[in-house]
Symmetry: none
Subunit: 189 residues, 4 copies
DNA sequence: ATGTAACCGAGACGGTACGTCGCGTCTTTGT
DNA sequence: ACAAAGACGCGACGTACCGTCTCGGTTACAT
């Protein structure tokens, strides 16, 4: 059934990933599908895990720039065409339904954010970046990725990985920000 | 009709934004809806423009940090609940259908990216950031925004705007990266 | 406009004869169409008159068999492909809507029935058929015609005309029905 | 579902017999309707069979006049108001669409024609009518019926049945047509 | 060896939405 | 003034999925 999901994703794209189509393709009744997974999003997430292109090795080169570059390249390597289409289906479901979004966030994105967080925490420990930047940086990395994936902006290849890693790590150098002028006094919120 | 779309978005969320529902709500026939806009995505984009929460003033404080902070705060200010739901509907449509994604990218995201690009180009001109970082930085900003919006990660408030602006502009300070260790020799692609 | 109706009937058949299509084809607005004729059925009837294949010459050969044969052959001659399709459209409209049926009956069928009635009345005057048979005979002729036309039963050609005329006029010979056995006592109604 | 069809036919007439309306009335989804019958005409035909007013007993009184009268009276008896409206809907569909006409002819009219044909064949065997008249006579009977039904000409009651039977069987008497004058020499076709 | 339960395919079901077509009415625009 | 152009509310078309449900049939285990 997950194989059928993968095949369908590859062939028909996110729009073709209906429960009906998956069941048909798998030679399985819809009932069975629902017996195993409660919803489409669960099927897709399971298929992604099955597809295996998911776990990213945590590099440890000793400094953030190298770690980031390796991490991003691995991430991109795992992002084959089928995975990309599955991710788009996930995004569509999450964007449509808040409950799905919550679920995806807590059960899928969370681990990925944690992995990158670990990398950044090490950099914080090494004094490469300030602690309060870890969350924005995680957002920068995954945000860029999803953003480009969903809207089809540019390619997601090693070049992108390197440029992104470089841009992120430009922050590295700036341990003691030399007398930044105070920001204009905006109201807090 | 666009009013109805806005109202529906606010009440029923992205999932409730069907052409039928919009037509029903607007007291209009589906035919009429399709006569004016060729597809749901166009209706939604039109509704967003109508809603007006769209054009962000380009700040010019003389330095990137202030500009960014102001720009992000304005962006967040424009992102009221209804707009957020509309954007999620847009994301869902784009994620589902590549053609929609292309359309949204070229007709909607483009202008927003250009606006932020202008801000960053000024910063490049002032020597605050290197030119090659502009594209990643645009991705960082809008990527974070969509990412958090779609998956419901945290709040999108002034606090987020400030933190994000700060993290981005941390790059500012790093004009001459002091002796970064050479990256490990990864294969180029 | 009537030309367009004829052309459409010939090309698209009864199903294609919509007011929209006629207007489009005639390069005319629907409004104009409705200004001239109050309904589709009127347009069709008008088109049939325009097409001219409508008036049947009343033969007068001196005896019913010859008259009938000539009349039916003329009728068939007038029934070209386009006319047949128009008649089917008329039948469809009449079958669907009682008001249309009434209209068609009183304004279209009536004159045709009257023509054939005249023929038969002459036969009655000549003593060829009893008076009370005229109405059924008219029904037989036009009934057969419409029946075969609507349901596509067999061909409507001279052969049919002759066979039908012959069958009808077989009644001719039977002036004094020789000792018909009394009918079984059915309840009157 | 067929009950709903019958009820709708009785209440709303041929024009009200839409698939939507039938489904609504039956408390059934359109999908289900289409799952059982491929088209509206099939639903209607099925409803008529369900309604049961369809099978006409073949009388056998020993002579054509009695047989015909009984057959026509039975036919009329079966033609209640609802059946009449359904038949009009059938006629409308057949008149509109040649494919429907073919279908109705081959699957519905055929058996009725065959029944009457049997009656007439017996009469042929008894020497009451010539063989070549059977087809026209069948047309006369059913043609009259549909013709009057569709266009609302007169009543279809026992009186009509008797008059029609009488007119048809007037042919009976004419075994040896006494010296009919030769028909004028019309071109064969 | 047989009874029984679990599971499955198949697909029907009531719904909702899709995008299109035709209806008859109405308004705008231009001649 | 009248006509083209076409927008409008309406309702039906036939199709696709949704998630639920009820069927038989077939395993495979327990008796």
């Amino acid at each position: 059934m997950l194989d059928a999901t993968l095949a369908l994703a590859a062939e028909a794209g996110p729009a073709g990933l209906s429960m009906e189509a998956i069941a048909r393709r798998a030679g399985v009744s819809k009932e069975t599908l629902y017996r195993w997974w409660p919803s489409k999003i669960e099927v897709i997430l399971a298929a992604m895990v099955e597809h295996g292109q998911v776990s990213i090795p945590l590099p440890d080169s000793g400094s953030l720039p190298g770690d980031l570059r390796a991490f991003l390249r691995s991430t991109i390597d795992a992002l084959d065409g089928t995975t990309a289409l599955l991710l788009r289906a996930v995004a569509a479901a999450a964007a449509t339904d808040q409950a799905v979004a919550d679920d995806v966030r807590d059960r899928f994105l969370r681990t990925r954010r944690a992995a990158l967080g670990t990398l950044l925490d090490r950099a914080v420990a090494r004094g490469e970046i300030p602690d309060e930047h870890t969350t924005p940086l995680v957002d920068f990395v995954y945000g860029s990725l999803w953003y480009r994936l969903i809207f089809g902006i540019g390619r997601l290849d090693h070049r992108w990985a390197d440029e992104t890693a470089t841009a992120i790590t430009a922050i590295t150098a700036t341990r003691q920000p030399p007398e930044r002028p105070p920001l204009p006094p905006l109201p807090p919120d």
